[in-house]
Amino acid sequence: MAKAKVKAKLPALKVKDGDVLLLVGTMKGAFLLRSDRARRRWQRSGPHFAGRSVYAIAYDGRNERHRIWAAPKSLHWGAELVSSDDFGGRWTRPEVPRISFPKETGASLAHVWQIQPGLDDEPERLFAGVEPSALFESRDGGESWSLNEGLWNHPHRSKWMPGGGGLCLHTILTDPARRERLTIATSTGGVYRTDDGGESWRPRNRGIKAYFLKEPEPEFGQCVHKVVRHPSRPDRLFLQHHFGIYRSDDGGDSWREASKGVPSDFGFPVAMHPHDPETVYVLPLKADEFRCPPDGKLRVYRSRDGARSWKPLTRGLPQEDCFDTVLRDAMTTDEENPAGVYFGTRNGRLYGSRDEGGSWTAIEDSLPPITCVRAVTVRIAERRRRAPARKTRRRKAA
């Protein structure tokens, strides 16, 4: 097999240590935005992969990398996983797409829905969730990937049904407290967890109601839209279901509904505060077929008490005649203090708050339909930052 890689070139963002980077996937390519920590002004590059949809994008800063992963899909030529080590200046595309289903599965890759770096002390490990629902894993920094056969061969898999977006594995949660534990979610199918490094998987949907199925609380089959975990309290999970917001305090062993106080229990995204495990954000939409903000008001709801109560956040957001939608991976938080919160809409608006949701501004107002948003504070190691300065001094001396 040929090893050559093709690198597409675009002007790279000039990113400095401590900058905040926003990675935005859309139906027509990816956009990268950077700001200093004030997060008042943003510079943008893109579209990268113009014309191709990007449902998954991620940043891997482990091992002093500055690697952006993206999963552009061409309607014609298929989906692939690409990476950039210079903030979008060059993208590495292997000749043969990195993720492929084995021949014996009879399956072919439709989309990559999630790219998730592994734990910090396993810097070569990454995970990807794809459509049709499956988990892939890399142990060599993303060069090669293999199908998780434990999940693929799970007896429930043949009974999972595709949701509106397709039969997709859209959530992958590592657990810093338990190395062998991994939690995934698939629509529809629900939450599954392995405690033995991916050999075996058990459904973890107890307490999540599924009114569209014969049993009100089935073992699996729930239409889970997104699940988040706080790194400092790995057993605390929040989940946005097709019907209801849920909380778990035992790593998903059981779930309790936490929808009291929101105008609709339907929605797609859920996002964690970066520092406070009691603070969580959702964006309710009117169920079931309309899927736009209730009463035409675009409102993020924030809970400061672990989803026991919710308050609307509206300052700077349209409060009448808003017929927009926010998808499952299109809301996120950064790592700053006070935390930044960001979300992108199907109408191409990218909103940001640099005061934990207290007020919002439109960072972009006419991007293509936004599918995913990620935020990261970039750390550039001291020795790398100093290297160009030494070169400059030598040139001056000459």
Binding site: V6, A8, H76, W77, V96, P97, F101, S108
Partner: protein, 93 residues
């Protein structure tokens, strides 16, 4: 005469910039031709075919101007020296 592939613009980065690839061996069917293409230019072949060897839904292959989707598909016999055109389908309105 050699069987030739016409390579569309988006795939030329995987064909050394070429718009045309002439096969050195003589394939009998379209499937054999794609197998040969995949040996030297896997980046082109894997974007025409998925990992199961099926032609992607929005890619059309024409042999001597005829779309094989409405004929014998990958089993289409190849005349000596024919041209195989890889074309993205006009998918949409």
């Amino acid at each position: 005469m050699a069987v030739r592939f016409f390579v569309p613009g988006p795939l030329r980065e995987f064909a050394g910039g070429r718009s045309e690839i002439a096969l050195s061996a003589r394939p009998r069917t379209l499937k054999e031709a794609l197998d040969l293409l995949g040996r030297d230019f896997p980046g082109v072949a894997r974007r025409v075919l998925d990992e199961q060897g099926e032609v992607r839904a929005h890619v059309n292959l024409f042999v001597e101007g005829e779309c094989v989707r409405f004929g014998e598909g990958l089993e289409t016999p190849l005349p000596d020296g024919c041209e195989i055109a890889i074309l993205p389908a006009v998918s949409g309105g």
